[in-house]
Symmetry: D2
Subunit: 259 residues, 4 copies
Amino acid sequence: MDLGISGRNAILLASSRGLGYACAESLAREGVNVVINGRTAADVETAVSELATKYSVLATGVVGDSSTDEVQEELINACPTPDIVLLNGEGPSPKRFSNISNADMTDSVQRSLTAPLMFLQRVIPGMCERKFGRIIAISSAMVKSPNPAMSLSHGPRLGLTGVLKGLSKDLARFNVTVNQLLPERFDTYRQEQMAQLAMQLRGITYEEARAEQVKSIKAGRLGQPNEFGDACAFLCSAQAGYISGQNLQLDGGSYEGVF
Amino acid sequence: MDLGISGRNAILLASSRGLGYACAESLAREGVNVVINGRTAADVETAVSELATKYSVLATGVVGDSSTDEVQEELINACPTPDIVLLNGEGPSPKRFSNISNADMTDSVQRSLTAPLMFLQRVIPGMCERKFGRIIAISSAMVKSPNPAMSLSHGPRLGLTGVLKGLSKDLARFNVTVNQLLPERFDTYRQEQMAQLAMQLRGITYEEARAEQVKSIKAGRLGQPNEFGDACAFLCSAQAGYISGQNLQLDGGSYEGVF
Amino acid sequence: MDLGISGRNAILLASSRGLGYACAESLAREGVNVVINGRTAADVETAVSELATKYSVLATGVVGDSSTDEVQEELINACPTPDIVLLNGEGPSPKRFSNISNADMTDSVQRSLTAPLMFLQRVIPGMCERKFGRIIAISSAMVKSPNPAMSLSHGPRLGLTGVLKGLSKDLARFNVTVNQLLPERFDTYRQEQMAQLAMQLRGITYEEARAEQVKSIKAGRLGQPNEFGDACAFLCSAQAGYISGQNLQLDGGSYEGVF
Amino acid sequence: MDLGISGRNAILLASSRGLGYACAESLAREGVNVVINGRTAADVETAVSELATKYSVLATGVVGDSSTDEVQEELINACPTPDIVLLNGEGPSPKRFSNISNADMTDSVQRSLTAPLMFLQRVIPGMCERKFGRIIAISSAMVKSPNPAMSLSHGPRLGLTGVLKGLSKDLARFNVTVNQLLPERFDTYRQEQMAQLAMQLRGITYEEARAEQVKSIKAGRLGQPNEFGDACAFLCSAQAGYISGQNLQLDGGSYEGVF
């Protein structure tokens, strides 16, 4: 299927590894030039070089924390007229509600809600003017089904979900779409990390921790990053211009609710 | 993007024209053999011949009302081991709630809820055994946002939405996914029909009727059938195996709700 | 709290015991005259006599299956100008999807979707004219979270959910509200029945079966029928006239989704 | 209807007027002792004296901004063992997305998300220990249907919606419930304010502004504060202990979605 986006330009926040990288790879494969971002220089360089080599697209790297003003500026300098933007960022560690401090929440909100919105302010006017934009946010299954130990994650993320939905209503007429992908349990370093945490907190073995992750998934397996990347690429396609304001769950059919 | 379904076999109910045909075309383009169905022989023949010629796939036609036992039997005979099934059927005309008879509702339910489920009973066991299945239903935006004049449509359709969600939970572990597409206002004969109806009922001109249809869509335009077909093809892809139980709205960003 | 409905008249389908009776009792306590309905004459008589004695309201009984035309007619004869209507009916037994016949679904739809709608056609015009109406349907938690073994229940019930939502939009301006109550696991004969079924099907003890019912409830207990009845009474109150189209879950906080 | 909460103690944030005051009044009428809070001393004093006089309950006032640590401390001092807590606060003015600054969002989040959560940390342990708690938040219809001009309101509020839902799952077993009320267009100073704003921004008359407010409501009228207060009182009742994690819309039936 020709996605009609060869030659388009994308900025992908937090894309040097994991699901962000998977999105970058699927887009690069479709001929999209990509700006890769991450906090570790080596990871960014590896990602850039792999994608440039494998897919013959323009790949650029911007090292740093994309929730800061400076890095956001650099990202725009690296790609002044983006057609596609991926919002992404590492989520916080689980924390019991009673232990969350004002500073914890303020920090999480800055990273997962305010900073992404500030970045969108930089790119939306141009997208509207050029009559093409595909904004995708990597959110979490928890925005529809909150886990009480993860308030620092789903609180700000659900805030973002709401603001993006509102925005989508204003942007539709400019062929600028805004959608979220809601992953649950993909086979990335994040689940590795969560398994390590479960081992420490609950004294279970690695195999038990991984088996538990799979057990909560109706498909009986973790998702593969390339499945995630291809869903992202599809929502960024020319022919997905009529799809906006959606929260697509990639969760192996695990969500219990009808809607 | 390679959807990984070349050589797969699909049965598509009510696919000789409109959105059903668009789905058939997108699948055929990806190398899927298709069984086309419709109530008018000439339409079915035209569709079959166009797809076979254009995409070099096996295209077969089954003429008749797919809500009947006989036609369902013929469809299975035409393709005994389907990998992909599209549930679709013409919706009823608008009818004021106070004018709906018991027979009206019984008939709508038979067409839009019971008959599709009876057809699924024929194909699910094989899909589970073969560890691949993609079930897609063309539903309507109204299942999330019911229009009081369309109870005969959204009543049965919402019933189907629920049963399919339930089913999706049991089928995920067999790599059999179940998803719905929720269109709102695509440029097909259906909107043409609705425009004619509006002209008659409210004495407005064709241009006014069409303008009203567009006005309710935030994207400022009707959707194109090929946009719909490609979304269907993506959800039928090999790499969409982790996506199930979803209700994807194709509505130009028009739905007001967050979820 | 004065609910402002003393002297109002209510017809309650399937109200001789269980949650239906609990609703009747809460309304009677608030001074509402009630028409009790059930299929067993003795149950209806007992209910009528208890309520009339205890609350000094007018209580009338109509014996028979409220999904039939004749009994619906009798109900209206017993109370020609109802202010409050409770839609209720016994749900079907669980049945594996593969075993559901066309007749099973047709029958369930007639009982749980079409018949209630036919009854509403009889009462809505008068409610609109008199500018007061409170329509409540006892639905099920499964309409938001379908259980694959209960398609015969949640299919038709979700259909009803949609039609009632559509209707609510047209009726709001007449001070006629339409709401649903979604119970999950109340301490009635229904859970008793489900426990017996679990004992037979899975060879567990009564205590195990009951413990399992409680285990699925976040509140750690079953709900009490009077809690349900009072929620119904509140939604029927004069001051609930601004609440319509809602699906209130009474499930001990068990539903996982945000909305 | 006896709500079973006479003699209970409530802390109500931002309750000196508007919907917050309406909640305080309904609770006081049911015999609940109330701590009234607001930023204007005169308003607080009036409210306290009215409620104490009219309902013979203990009414106390705490003047100040409840999003600050100091005022939260004072509130707890005024009522160390609250059974009922109302989260409420004035929403921000509308602001176009492109004009929102990082500081705007940070400030709104502090007021509408973080501060309420910090307050809950102070009261939840005691509620769990005493096995009774009713937490109600006054949210907004916009958390289900975001208005693009109100990101500063629905962003933080939707974040709160998610955290409260997560919390509700952990608290249900202690008979501590958490619910939100979602008003749309009640006849308070807030709608007065919005009307004034519309007059200024769009050059319409007061009558036009008020007529527009009503026009968006399917009930054809604004809600009355006492209707809101009584819904709050019902959710705070003893018999509402099985209802938690709900978002009850009080919107004259205006929300378009099924759920």
